[in-house]
Every structure is written in structure tokens, then in C-alpha cells.
């Protein structure tokens, strides 16, 4: 590398702000991510997995947190999605990962959310899955899907 030049990354990076309880905009970040992956030309099966991970993590911010972001880093080899929010955080991650466990209130369940399937769905479609949370602070979920 030439002196003084920064390494050029070919990764495509995007960042999408997510607002809590905005059910009309909810899903738009995931939809944008899907379109980007389609434009790049990923296989439909890979796009489906990424769309599921993006949607479920986006909805978890919309429903369970007040605000956050979805950040994607896309390269020919891998799709990385980081969903981060500023709280309230998850007190018991093991419990939250259990299929069927949900703290969604009744009015949210009436909308068809709160089956307690979102996090297990994300885990099922991802090659790497890291969920970190500090109760009172916030949650960060990192998902990687390999292009193979």
C-alpha cells in the first residue's frame, strides 16, 4: 500500500434509523435492505434469509425499544446486519430466546406480533448470531449471513 493512502473497502455500508411504535414506517428499512441485495444480485434464498433477519430485528426495535438503527455491511462474501437500540434492554436473554416467550402487550398481540418467534427466526436464518443487552441501557444484535 502507498504511504498515506487509506485502504479502500469494497463493503457497502448503510444505516437506517428506526422509530419505536411507528407501524406505518415499520418494515421500510428491511425493504430497502432487500432491494439493495436484489440489485447486487444475491441468490433469492440468501435474500430471503437476510429479509427475515432484517424484518424481525427491525420489528423488535419498533415494538420493544424506543429508537434504534439497522446497520448493514454487505460484501460479496457476507451480509452483516447490526440492530442496535437505546433501551430498555433485555433482562434475561436466555428467556427472550425461547420460542413462544414474549412481553408484548395485548394491543400489540392483537396486531399479530408477540408470538415470541422473532429472535428464534433470526437465529434460524443466520450463520452468526450475537445478542448483547444491558437492562436499562439497550440491545445490540449482530447477524451475519454467508453468501454460500
Amino acid at each position: 500500500m502507498e504511504k498515506g493512502k487509506k485502504p479502500v473497502s469494497k463493503d457497502i455500508k448503510h444505516e437506517y434509523p428506526i422509530r419505536g411504535m411507528d407501524f406505518v414506517a415499520a418494515g421500510e428499512a428491511s425493504s430497502n435492505i432487500k432491494h439493495t441485495l436484489q440489485l447486487i444480485g444475491f441468490a433469492p434464498a440468501i435474500i430471503r434469509r437476510a429479509a427475515i433477519a432484517a424484518y424481525e430485528s427491525e420489528m423488535n426495535i419498533v415494538i420493544h425499544a424506543t429508537e434504534g438503527t439497522l446497520k448493514t455491511t454487505i460484501s460479496p462474501e457476507r451480509i452483516e446486519i447490526i440492530a442496535a437500540d437505546t433501551g430498555p434492554g433485555i433482562p434475561d436473554i436466555e428467556l427472550a430466546m425461547r420460542e413462544g416467550y414474549s412481553t408484548a402487550p395485548d394491543h400489540i398481540r392483537e396486531m399479530g406480533f408477540g408470538a415470541g418467534m422473532g429472535l428464534p427466526n433470526i437465529k434460524n436464518v443466520s450463520d452468526e448470531f450475537t445478542l448483547d443487552s444491558t437492562f436499562g441501557k439497550g440491545t445490540t444484535l449482530k447477524v451475519v449471513i454467508y453468501n454460500q
Binding site: G27, S30, R48, Y55, M59, M111, M117, G118, N121
Partner: protein, 111 residues
């Protein structure tokens, strides 16, 4: 089978995207739980549901579903139709309850 060929049997009213009724329908999924649909509905399916809020359009669009059929006489929200037009997802309604609509569609797709 084309979406347009299912309308009569489903006694469906087309709420939007009339110009997209030529899309293929190969299967169907019935559920009112969005994460369940997300995990299990296959591309080119009709999704039968009682949910009427705009987020159903996001789910249908992300999965590449053919259409949303809102059953048992439920009415989709105006925001849902607006979003469906934007995303080009046909939204249909029927007076039939989910079981009957699904049964008719099953017979059509296997006929």
C-alpha cells in the same frame, strides 16, 4: 395458476393493484401471526389473514407473496391499501372465513 383465476372462487373483492392480477399463485399460507408468516410462508403464495394494519404489506413484500386475502369480511385500513399500492401487493377481501377460503383455494390449486 394466475391470481386472477382465484378471484371468483374466493368471492374476493380486489382492493388495489388490479393490474398485477396476472401474477402466479402456487400455494397459500393462513396465519394471523406475523412472525409465523415470516418463517413459513413461501414465495408466490396467497396469505389469508384477519390482520388489517399496514405492516402486513411489509411482510408480503419482503417474502414475495402474490397477494394478501383479508378474510371473514374484515376491512383493511386505508393506510394498508396506500402502502400496498406503493409496494404493488394486491390486497383482496372476502366474506368467507379463513377455513373456507383456504379450502376453496386448496381445491383450485390441486384441481
Amino acid at each position: 395458476m394466475k391470481l386472477s383465476e382465484t378471484i371468483g372462487e374466493l368471492e374476493a373483492e380486489v382492493k388495489c393493484c388490479e393490474s398485477s392480477l396476472d401474477r402466479d399463485v402456487s400455494w397459500c399460507y393462513c396465519s394471523d401471526l406475523l412472525s409465523d408468516v415470516m418463517a413459513n410462508a413461501k414465495k408466490d403464495s396467497i396469505w389469508i389473514t384477519l390482520q388489517t394494519h399496514p405492516n402486513i404489506v411489509a411482510v408480503a413484500s419482503l417474502l414475495g407473496l402474490s397477494a394478501i386475502l383479508v378474510s371473514r369480511g374484515a376491512e383493511p385500513d386505508p393506510e394498508t391499501i396506500a402502502k400496498a399500492v406503493q409496494e404493488n401487493i394486491p390486497v383482496l377481501t372476502t366474506k368467507l372465513p379463513t377455513f373456507e377460503a383456504a379450502g376453496r383455494l386448496y381445491n383450485l390449486l390441486n384441481g
